[in-house]
Amino acid sequence: MKAFLKHLRYVLTENPVTLVAGSMFLMLILLGLFGPWIVPYDPLASSPAALQPPSAQHWFGTDQLGRDVFSRVIVATRLDLTIAIVAVALSFVAGSVFGSIAGFYGGWADRIVGRVTDTIMAFPLFVLAMGIVAALGNTVENIVYATAIINFPFYARVARAEVNVRRGAGFVQAARLAGNSDLRLLATQIYPNVLPPMMVQVSLNMGWAILNAAGLSFIGLGVRPPTPEWGIMVAEGATYIVSGEWWLALFPGLALMLAVFCFNLLGDGLRDLIDPRQRT
């Protein structure tokens, strides 16, 4: 543990970018948790002051209904992060379970899981997500499921490969000879070793999950107006871009970009922390 903390400090100080990304991540989480209580205006309350450019009262200006863009962008953090985190958590769990089984037992289990992941990957992933939402129904939950399904192959493949190389390792054989069941072997001996690469996959994947979910709501799926959400806010603001009201789309777009950027940097940093050899 001490060695880990030392390594953590080394990575953070060696690469200030990771430190910045870490603080940004913390800020996003705080905004997600406390956003609704710290914003200056009600994100849903309209006012006569419509389409005002950014000013001291309205830092990010107001939208076509006079709602405060700053408040809406902050409040949207929770919904956007929740969709991405729940989707990634679902595919993480499903990918871990099925990937581990495929990697551990091989044979039929491996072939079935491999076929399923190959089939998902045979689609352009965003298009598959559109199709899933269209079939299951146009709701926020289905955006989450669709995002989880298109991310599943990445986790299943990592878990399968990492379990597969370890299933015959010395420490696993020793644990098996000591009388442990397959399930215990997987859970207590093999999987803890698979966790680091899986975590890297999570942070590299999170940004993409946010982009995907925002893309789906940008084309009008899932989140309904007037709910504040970055993708739909950019979509609403798009109409006003051609007449010069840039702040409607710029700020939610920037928030989206910063969140994705932060997760991508964090993913690279985490990879350095866990596997220094893969550093590029």
Partner: protein, 342 residues
């Protein structure tokens, strides 16, 4: 003999695509049957009464068992029948085919742009590590994957249309003051050139530039990253050192020896890039009101026109499988070492 084995390899690749196609067909079948509620009610449309719903149920074979329905579905696919679009009242295949050239023109130009920037950028960054171009490459690579494609598109519109006024308004493939060029290939730019109409060509091209750059920017990052990485790996190998030591010219070493070997991982990345591209194509088409199959799918989604959406998903998946097949075949031709099992 060598030719024959290459042909055999290509044939093998084509066979390997069959499971993907089967998977795609099964998934789209399941998606149509997984509709909430009764599919017959959806396909009959909102104004249908009980009798016409029953009629639709029989016409679609929804009163049969699932395996029977699947066979009917396969039969329909084989005849190229993807059902009727409720929103336009015409066959989905017809709608998709009519809009396909617009999407293809956009995607191909975007790919051309993306490749013509990312390959030189990656090569330059790899040959001059830690120079400004290397740093520029790293910034573009990290920022590029974080930019939501619809956001970049909107701001290119804001800058080039609203502020600078040099881009045409982001509405469709050609300005309303121009007539569509006579249809030959369906690509407006090429058709206009074939027609010898330079004005129309310019108008079509100017509409095309911003969406293509938007789409290209998004795919630039993974390609530049992979080019840089692959070139770095290849340039540090023994055979490059030998080639240099033998006194070969810099360009021979770089392009004949290094780039050809670096092409393999780049081609692999291209498969993933196509997945991104076909997906973000939908978003770019919405931003620029581009009349391609993506816009068609979005309109269909909003009005719950399921046959159209499923047809779109199926068409995109087939396109993607075909593109991957082409990449695989190119791979086999670039790398003669690779066998069927490779």
């Amino acid at each position: 003999m060598a030719n024959r084995s290459t042909l055999a390899l290509i044939g093998g690749r084509v066979l390997q695509a069959i499971p993907s196609i089967a998977g795609v067909i099964i998934v789209t079948f399941v998606l149509t049957r997984a509709l909430p509620g009764d599919p017959a009610v959806y396909f009959a449309g909102p104004a249908a009464d009980a009798a016409s719903i029953e009629q639709v149920r029989q016409a679609l074979g929804l009163d049969r068992t699932l395996p029977e329905q699947f066979l009917i579905y396969l039969g329909d696919l084989a005849r190229g029948d993807l059902g009727q679009s409720i929103s336009t009242g015409r066959p989905v295949v017809e709608e998709l085919l009519r809009r396909m050239p617009a999407s293809m023109e956009l995607t191909l130009l975007a790919l051309l742009f993306s490749l013509s920037v990312s390959l030189p950028l990656g090569i330059l960054a790899a040959t001059r590590p830690n120079s400004w171009i290397d740093h520029l490459c790293r910034v573009i690579v990290t920022a590029g994957v974080s930019l939501p494609v619809f956001f970049t598109g909107l701001f290119l519109v804001y800058i080039f249309y609203f502020i600078l006024g040099i881009a045409p308004s982001p509405l469709g493939r050609i300005d309303i003051f121009y007539l569509d060029p006579p249809k030959i290939t369906g690509f407006f730019t090429i058709d206009a050139l074939l027609d010898g109409d330079l004005d129309t060509f310019g108008a079509a091209l100017s509409q095309l530039v911003l969406p293509a750059i938007t789409l290209g920017l998004f795919t630039l990052a993974p390609l530049a990253r992979m080019t840089r990485g692959a070139m770095l790996a290849v340039l540090s190998s023994d055979y490059i050192r030998t080639a240099r030591a033998s006194g070969l010219s810099r360009s021979t070493v770089l392009y004949t020896y290094a780039l050809r070997n670096a092409m393999l991982p780049i081609l692999t990345t291209l498969g993933m890039v196509f997945s991104f591209m076909l997906g973000s194509n939908v978003l770019v088409e919405k931003v620029f009101a581009w009349p391609g199959i993506g816009s068609f799918a979005i309109e269909a989604l909003i009005v719950s026109d399921y046959a159209a959406v499923q047809g779109f998903v199926l068409a995109m998946a087939f396109l993607y499988v075909a593109l991957n097949l082409i990449i695989d075949i190119l791979y086999t031709m670039v790398d003669p070492r690779i066998g069927l099992e490779g």
